[in-house]
């Protein structure tokens, strides 16, 4: 275990050097909602995180720990009860195009073909609903379609898939298109909520490889939510584990572990003993209150 962590140190330093300014700033964020007339249930409690540009952050935790809630707040879909979140220096108050989004389900528009799904972002971005009557629209659409076809092939899909509707694709292909759709917008932040959870192991593995290679090439800031520890360790350059510290409604999840990972090391050691040891170690933290061996205050390695 120690050897693995030591070997990560070099990668941590390298990662810190490459990471320039802050992409996402989460300051003292807490989330709670009312249950009954007087009581409130706290989901997240005093979360402070600074995510640098180009980091691949994986949010890990057990079901119900609030990792998807945190992602939705970064996205702007939900607002924190206390604290603030900013993306690219601007406070997040509503959903906008600063962040790309790949959910687990309903990632694609069912009424549009694959190519239309891909080109929707750039088209909408430049030509809103009444702008399509402008003379330059057709030429722009042609250009965006060409770009979309390239992106499609980049994601390992065939040109013949362009005219298919989402329901005609497998789950894995749909998620490939969803990633391509988000990348077409060239957003600096990519948020993925259990994006591969519904896929079979083989497809999941190939999409993990694809995502890693896309990230290595383009270096967007990625926040990836998962409850799969092995996936988290394989994909991320930084692992954040959220876990509850108490069963009480007043206590929400906190950051139990914030760990830098090497940019490539874990990928190579995916099935090795060190990797499996690491999985065990991280899972102790993600169990949180249900496991007495976990540090209640959270550990930062």
């Amino acid at each position: 275990m120690v050897s693995v962590l030591n070997s990560h140190q070099e990668a941590i330093t390298a990662s810190q050097e490459t990471a320039g300014s802050t992409a996402i700033q989460i300051s003292q964020v807490s989330v709670s909602y009312p249950i009954g007339k007087k009581r409130r249930k706290t989901i997240l409690e005093d979360i402070n995180l600074e995510i640098a540009k180009g980091e691949f952050v994986v949010l890990l935790g057990e079901t119900g720990c609030g990792k998807s809630t945190l992602l939705r707040m970064i996205l702007g879909q939900e607002r924190p009860t206390a604290g603030a979140i900013s993306v690219d220096g601007g406070v997040v108050e509503r959903v906008d195009s600063r962040s790309g989004y790949v959910p687990q389900k309903y990632a694609l528009f069912p009424d549009r073909t694959v190519l239309e799904n891909l080109t929707m972002g750039p088209e909408t971005s430049r030509y809103h609903i009444f702008g399509r009557l402008k003379p330059g629209f057709r030429a722009f659409r042609k250009q965006v379609r060409e770009e979309g076809m390239k992106q499609l092939q980049h994601m390992g899909l065939q040109a013949s898939d362009a005219d298919k509707y989402p329901h005609q694709l497998s789950g894995g292909m749909q998620q490939r298109v969803a990633i391509a759709q988000a990348l077409m917008m060239k957003s600096s932040v990519l948020l993925m909520d259990e994006a591969f959870s519904a896929l079979d192991p083989g497809t999941r593995k190939s999409l993990q490889g694809l995502l890693r290679s896309v990230w290595s090439e383009l270096r967007p800031t990625v926040v990836f939510v998962t409850h799969n520890t092995a996936e988290a360790l394989y994909l991320g350059t930084r692992l954040i584990v959220l876990a509850r510290t108490s069963h009480s409604d007043d206590c929400g999840s906190r950051v139990a572990l914030d760990m830098k990972l090497p940019e490539s090391g874990m990928c190579l050691a995916r099935n090795g003993k060190d990797f499996l040891d690491m999985v065990d170690h991280v899972e102790q933290f993600s169990r949180g209150v249900s496991d007495t061996t976990a540090s209640p205050d959270g550990e930062t390695i």
């Binding site: 996205l75 702007g76 879909q77 509503r94 959903v95 906008d96 195009s97 962040s99 790309g100 989004y101 959910p103 389900k105 309903y106 990632a107 528009f109 069912p110 009424d111 929707m120 972002g121 909408t124 971005s125 809103h128 609903i129 509707y165 989402p166 329901h167 005609q168 759709q181 988000a182 917008m185 957003s187």
Partner: protein
């Protein structure tokens, strides 16, 4: 060999047998009618309650090729069948009812857009939804006297009755459709730099449109029902007006073809909408 059972959920009837089965009730109805007609005509050869084939043919002939009123234009003897049809009773009535029906249909479009806004924009929902919920409970036919007072007894009172009768239900229906669109789709659209109207019309409206067409198909009959109610009470032409007039003269030889004609028209509109939906939204069929 598989045994035949009417109550076998897992049964797989072959195509030919299924089609034969679907015709069975039609054949039974026709058979029952013929038997009743023959029986009544044996007792009274001039019976008009259940007209026989000859009486029906005479009724259809007069409906399709003869003018409705005595003061209507009468086509000359050497006029073609098309010209006769163009000045016939059924043409006049179908045209009158169809025009009212079509105008009502057009006036329902804003209702669909209002429903889209109610389901999507929270302030619209807060402003309109409760009122529409209440308005939906008002029995439209009870408003008919008010409509006659406000709009008079001509076209607009009947059109207003159809719109008032169908629109609230349709608004509530479409609102539910809009709300049922997964939230992820809206969020996703915003991340693709869509503005509020892009989301409303280029994402949500496109997705609910096939369901809206289906809802319209289901509302065809209520629309016709309200139209008939209006026409039967106060009109000088129209399919329901003719049926009401013929009732006074026991003109079953005209009433029956008219009833079947109305059903056929509605069936054709429904079929057209179904085909249109399938062609326009191939993704929805899956």
């Amino acid at each position: 060999m598989a045994t035949f059972s009417l109550f076998d959920i897992q049964a797989r009837p072959n195509r030919l047998f299924a089609q034969a089965l679907s015709c069975l009730l039609f054949v039974l109805c026709v058979g029952l009618y013929i038997q009743t007609s023959v029986k009544r005509h044996q007792e009274n050869s001039e019976d008009r309650v259940v007209p026989n084939a000859r009486q029906l043919m005479t009724g259809i002939h007069s409906s399709v090729l003869e003018p409705a009123e005595e003061d209507d234009y009468v086509a000359p003897d050497n006029a073609s069948k098309w010209e006769r049809l163009h000045h016939s009773m059924i043409w006049k009535d179908t045209f009158a009812s169809g025009r009212r029906f079509l105008i009502s249909l057009i006036l329902l479009a804003p209702a669909v857009l209002l429903a889209l806004h109610i389901g999507l924009f929270p302030y619209f929902g807060a402003g309109f939804l409760r009122f529409i919920l209440f308005f939906d409970k008002i029995v439209a036919l009870s408003l008919l006297p008010i409509l006659f007072i406000v709009f008079g007894i001509d076209e607009w009172s009947k059109i207003a009755l159809i719109v008032i009768g169908v629109a609230p239900t349709m608004i509530l229906d479409v609102t539910q459709m809009v709300k049922a669109v997964p939230r992820e789709q809206i969020v996703k659209a915003f991340t693709l730099d869509a503005n509020d109207f892009d989301v409303a019309y280029r994402v949500i409206f496109r997705q609910v449109l096939p369901q809206v067409i289906n809802s319209l198909r289901l509302n065809l009959k209520p629309m016709m029902l309200f139209l008939f109610a209006g026409e039967m009470i106060a009109a000088s032409d129209g399919l329901a007006y003719r049926i009401a007039i013929m009732r006074r003269h026991m003109g079953m030889d005209v009433i029956l073809p008219y009833v079947l004609w109305v059903a056929f028209l509605l069936y054709c509109i429904d079929l057209a909408l179904r085909v249109l939906n399938r062609r326009m939204h191939p993704w929805f069929q899956s």
